[in-house]
């Protein structure tokens, strides 16, 4: 297993941290090493947030990802900040519902996902982060779909178990999105 790396970035409130945590949790459920490094500090609602996740079957050296192999940007300021940082040959996943601009880099693979529309169609408008999680799982192959579903189940817990079916539905919508289209 190679070292899988993800940086996810967007507005506070878009579920960026949850996206990253679920991805890391899925990795841990498969018995791997994983690190989840949040941007922390003075923050405000609507401000930017990001997190870095590493999953590997070997002990992880640096949890800091200045040049991630895979990057998710959920809003325009994040595209501006992180597009230049993606490792050459890496993947940039862009939430095209909120970002109308195109990426300028040609040495990376870009995937445009209308995540908000897909989430809305699948039944939960605010779950664009779960759509993107599906895309990340599909594009990286870092974790199995089953582990991802288990991570969502465990995170919701018993108290919020009623939201599990709708979350899985939204995840499937993400998984079914044609990432090469």
């Amino acid at each position: 297993m190679a070292q899988h790396e993800l940086v996810a970035a967007g507005f506070g409130g878009q579920g960026i941290m949850m996206l990253g945590k679920l991805f890391a949790e899925a990795g841990v459920l498969e018995g791997n090493y994983a690190t989840f490094l949040p941007s922390y500090g003075p923050a405000m609602r609507g401000g930017t947030a990001n997190c870095a996740i590493v999953i590997s079957n070997e002990p992880i050296a640096s949890p800091v990802l200045p040049h991630p192999k895979v990057c998710v940007v959920m809003n325009l300021p994040s595209l501006k900040t992180f597009e230049p940082l993606v490792a050459p040959g890496g993947i940039l996943i862009i939430n095209s519902s909120l970002i109308k601009e195109k990426a300028k880099r040609t040495d990376i693979k870009t995937i445009y996902v209308p995540a908000n529309e897909i989430a809305e169609k699948a039944g939960m408008t605010k779950a664009a982060n779960i759509v993107i999680l599906g895309i990340v799982v599909k594009a990286t192959g870092a974790v199995k779909v089953e582990s991802t579903k288990e991570a969502i189940k465990q995170t919701l817990g018993e108290a919020k178990a009623k939201y599990l079916p709708i979350n899985l539905q939204v995840l499937d919508a993400g998984l079914n999105f044609d990432i090469n289209g």
Binding site: Y33, F36, V64, P66
Partner: protein
């Protein structure tokens, strides 16, 4: 060892302390370690422990003094400015030879600074931040797992030497989540007894007295000598360090904590390009791995050391003293809570290697 859990660093140290037999926490909130007291506030009542948020750091450290004097395992967690406030208490605790564990999740300084990871508190931790002639035993974890693993050792060393132990962490280690495994619970009943504790008459005719006071210089000198005999044992017995790829290394990084992790990435990269680089990572900052550094310095193969810190260079003084100036010791650091990128460190190393040829 149990199952792997994804857990935040600050919470993991709380659980690790409980498993190490600690049932008492006194502290005062400060970012970036608030998840530790929050965790303890919820968890300690479940194990019949005591959590108390003090009115200040000064009060908290003196609560530790009292609890340790009563013979109980006790911890506080704080971050740089809070730890500064605790220095008076730490000096008293060292002078009274009391075992406590203090976690410093270091943030940027000086003053109020910021809440990002930093290593500017090395001098304060290692050289004695309070008044008087004493040492803290200082452990520096570099992963969340190691923070857990070192916690039991911290309590054991504190008890063994009757001396405060500091875990020197940083904001990144406190805030990140990592897959971890916990050891089992220490049986508190089976911990070594503390016949010196001021907890009761213990069936004797006279009370135990715990203090750091002797008005007569003759008496105080005896006490100082006793403490320093103890530190000699600590230096002899308790040095811990990690070496990475030093067996054939010509260029040696020296770093601790979070920075050492970043350097492991650098080493992978430079090794893949054929450069013989290695790392020595002190795990105990006091006692410092002097002998191991000297042995590397005396090895004709080793060309130089490159010390990397999140400060303008504090540990480097110990590196230079340990290596007795037998090889050059270079420095690179970032400050203010900034982290160096692996590429940045590689470039510094490659430039120095070129100059050395």
């Amino acid at each position: 060892m149990g199952e792997k859990l994804l857990m935040k660093g600050a919470e993991a140290i709380g659980e690790a302390a409980i498993r190490a037999g600690c049932r008492h926490f006194f502290g005062y909130p400060i970012t970036p370690q608030n998840e530790a007291p929050a965790y303890m506030a919820r968890r300690l009542p479940e194990v019949n422990g005591t959590f108390l948020q003090a009115e200040s750091e000064v009060a908290a450290i003196n609560m530790l003094y009292g609890c340790a004097a009563a013979g109980k395992r006790v911890i506080t967690t704080s971050s740089s400015p809070g730890i500064s406030l605790m220095q008076e208490g730490l000096s008293y605790i060292a002078g009274s030879e009391l075992p406590v564990v203090v976690m410093n999740v270091v943030r940027g300084g000086p003053g109020l600074g910021d809440i990002a990871p930093a290593q500017g508190d090395y001098f304060q931790a290692v050289k004695g931040g309070g008044h008087g002639d004493y040492h803290l035993i200082v452990l520096a974890p570099s992963t969340v797992q190691e923070s857990i693993d070192l916690m039991q050792l911290a309590f054991d060393l504190a008890d063994k030497y009757r001396n405060p132990v500091m875990m020197l962490s940083d904001g990144l280690l406190g805030q990140m989540m990592e897959a971890v495994e916990f050891p089992g619970f220490v049986d508190i009943e089976k911990l070594p007894k503390k016949p010196w504790a001021a907890d009761s008459m213990q069936g004797k005719r006279s009370r135990n007295l715990v203090n750091s006071f002797d008005l007569l210089p003759e008496g105080l000198e005896v006490m100082n000598k006793k403490m320093w005999a103890k530190y000699a044992d600590v230096e002899k017995n308790e040095v811990k360090f990690e070496e990475v790829e030093t067996a054939d290394a010509e260029y040696i990084f020296v770093a601790y904590g979070t920075v050492a992790r970043i350097i492991k990435t650098v080493i992978k990269d430079l090794r893949s390009k054929g450069h013989k680089v290695g790392l020595i990572r002190p795990i105990t900052l006091y006692p410092f791995p002097k002998k191991q550094l000297l042995a590397l310095a005396e090895n004709p193969r080793v060309k130089f050391f490159l010390d990397i810190e999140l400060s303008f260079g504090q540990m480097i003084e110990d590196v230079k003293l340990s290596t007795e100036f037998k090889k050059p010791v270079h420095f690179y650091g970032r400050q203010g809570g900034m982290l160096p990128e692996p590429n940045e460190i590689s470039e510094v190393m490659l430039k120095l290697m070129k100059e050395a040829k």
